[in-house]
């Protein structure tokens, strides 16, 4: 990674921290500690299931919201406020700016996820009093959540490179919702006919498949995950991220900063 990308990434991270993005951790901590105390009192033998499910789902949702709402402004805000002028008038290539921004936001989300993961394990220890071997799969679920964030960051950046923040938010959030049901969409495409089948198949393969990255329920039920799934999801997320980032770079390289 070039030094300039690193500096831009560090500045993006610093912006997120100073804009109090990490304050969401307080909301998360309150939610999780409240839930841990509640389930330990009202449920029998499913405390672990509830805490893992709730914790990982909250990590995913909080992260997705941060990725979308910060990601959509990463480029458009810089153009609107003209802060970009003094950056691009230096020996910074446009693609370096986009990639730096991406790593900055991804870094923010990884740090956020790490803190939240500590919270989940803390809550788990509180309700179960000890860790068991299947709890290690939580790390895989967290890894998949981070892969999900990478895809959403890149899509938010892609939309941000040519659209207004509001439209970018609508596009990114719609893709997140549709992508979360990608497997259902593929199932529907399998039973549909004619144009509907063609359209549903195209849509199912074009939208990011977030269903395959969602293993929260399996991990909560202590089901093991195959190595091939980890490899497949890693490659899929990397491919999708690189494709979306390439689109963002291609658009931004040609954009007039009026």
């Amino acid at each position: 990674m070039s030094a300039r990308i690193l500096h831009i990434a560090k500045n993006t991270f610093r912006e997120a921290v100073r804009d109090r993005v990490l304050y969401n951790l307080i909301a998360f901590a309150l939610l999780l500690s409240g839930a841990a105390i509640l389930v330990s009192q009202i449920s029998i033998d499913i405390e672990r299931l509830v805490v893992v499910n709730l914790g990982l789902t909250a990590i995913s949702l909080f992260g997705v919201l941060i990725a979308i709402f910060i990601g959509i402004g990463l480029v458009s805000k810089e153009i609107e406020k003209r802060t970009l002028y003094t950056v691009l008038s230096r020996p910074v290539r446009r693609w370096e700016f986009i990639v730096g921004k991406f790593f900055g936001l991804a870094g923010t989300l990884v740090v956020n996820t790490l803190f939240m993961a500590i919270g989940v394990f803390g809550a788990l220890l509180y309700v179960a009093h000890r860790f068991s071997r299947p709890d290690a799969w939580i790390f895989v679920a967290l890894y998949f959540i981070i892969l999900e964030f990478l895809i959403i960051c890149s899509l938010s950046l892609l939309f941000s490179s040519f659209s207004s923040p509001l439209l970018s938010a609508v596009f990114a959030f719609s893709l997140f919702v549709i992508g979360s049901f990608a497997n259902d969409l593929r199932g529907f495409a399998g039973v549909a006919h004619g144009f509907t089948r063609w359209f549903a198949t195209a849509a199912a393969y074009l939208v990011p498949n977030f269903s395959t990255l969602n293993v929260i329920s399996a991990v909560a039920h202590q089901q093991p995950l195959g190595a091939h799934l980890i490899l497949q999801n890693t490659l899929y997320a990397l491919f999708y991220t690189v494709a979306a980032m390439s689109g963002a770079v291609l658009i931004f390289e040609r954009r007039n900063l009026k």
């Binding site: 030094a3 300039r4 500096h7 831009i8 500045n11 610093r14 912006e15 100073r18 804009d19 406020k81 003209r82 802060t83 970009l84 002028y85 003094t86 950056v87 691009l88 008038s89 230096r90 020996p91 910074v92 290539r93 040609r254 007039n256 900063l257 009026k258």
Partner: protein
């Protein structure tokens, strides 16, 4: 060597939502700026000054043409390490302090950490911002932001500095400091290219100026060339509150200000005017050839164009009627 060679850069934007139509922001521009000079780029608001600077900075892409900066293609990213740029009404990352901002920009410009450590306080002091450590830019006034903007433009010790309306938002003292700074940059052998619509600044600072209006270059030259002497006229200044009869008969155009009188007469009448003042025992202060001010020249250039444009329009309309 020329610091800047603009070779027919032009820009046309497509405007409109559904039916896009072209809008010419800059006609093909040919301009050369020599190394080591202070060059003023003058024009009213909307003339195309900022568009030209954005084209040179690679912020917008030209419809046609090219440019060379410090002997290299203007698109070469490495050339930007030797360029400083202050945009019009600059806005910076307001969550940073001035030191953090300059540190970030220094990193992007490839300034080493030890150099940044001594250079940042130096340039901040240079622009009159000495007591701003720990204060975020969101708490800065407009004038202070302008000073930060100037500091970031010169931080990496560039050979060529572009300032877009550098005096904007500054108080008289700040404007004076920026003028001094530009003169110092020139003494250090740097080239300064600045756009402005404040003619007194250009007159006081520039070696050469270019006048641009409605996207078209109207004139380029040294201030002395543009503000040439008015043929055969001199300005006579003397102490007093009245115009002696001997001067009045020369049909002088006289103005009394306090205890000073200024009269404009023909050059061949200056001896007669001096004799008349002597007879009345009035103290002669000066006699100088009358020069066109830059302002007069500037207004003339814009008006000439407006008239020719309206003539063309009338001609075109007449042609249509025929």
């Amino acid at each position: 060597m020329a610091a800047i060679e603009i070779l027919g850069l032009e820009k046309t934007y497509m405007v409109g939502f559904w039916r896009k139509r072209p809008k010419r922001a800059l006609e093909p521009l040919h301009l050369t700026v020599d190394e080591g000079e202070i060059f003023g780029f003058l024009g009213p608001n909307g003339a195309g000054k900022t568009t030209t600077l954005k084209l040179l900075m690679g912020l917008v892409f030209p419809t046609a043409g090219s440019a060379r900066i410090l002997g290299r293609e203007w698109t070469d990213p490495q050339i930007k390490a030797q360029i400083g740029f202050l945009p019009e009404q600059p806005y910076f990352y307001d969550y940073l302090t001035a030191h953090e901002l300059l540190d970030y920009y220094g990193q992007l410009s490839g300034v080493s950490a030890p150099d940044r450590r001594h250079r940042i306080p130096e340039v901040l002091s240079h622009v009159g911002l000495t007591d701003v450590k720990g204060i975020q830019l969101r708490k800065f006034s407009k004038g202070m932001l302008q000073r930060v903007g100037i500091a970031q433009a010169i931080l990496h010790n560039p050979r060529l500095v572009f300032f877009d309306e550098p005096m904007s938002g500054l108080d008289p003292l700040g404007r004076r400091e920026v003028r001094d700074l530009m003169e110092q940059l020139k003494r250090e052998g740097k080239t300064v290219f600045f756009s402005t619509h404040i003619l007194s600044d250009a007159e006081a600072l520039c070696d050469r100026v270019a006048i641009i209006h409605k996207g078209m270059l109207r004139s380029v030259g040294a201030i002395e060339e543009l503000t040439s002497t008015v043929q055969g006229k001199v300005e006579v200044v003397w102490q007093g509150t009245n115009v002696p009869a001997g001067v009045r008969v020369l049909s002088a155009d006289c103005h009394v200000t306090g205890d000073t009188v200024r009269g404009i007469i023909n050059e061949n009448q200056q001896d007669a005017a001096i004799d008349a003042l002597r007879r009345e025992r009035m103290r002669l202060v000066s006699i100088t050839p009358l020069r066109t001010s830059l302002e007069t020249y500037f207004v003339e250039k814009l008006q000439v164009r407006c008239e020719s444009t309206s003539e063309n329009t009338v001609g075109a309309a007449a042609g249509t009627r025929v």
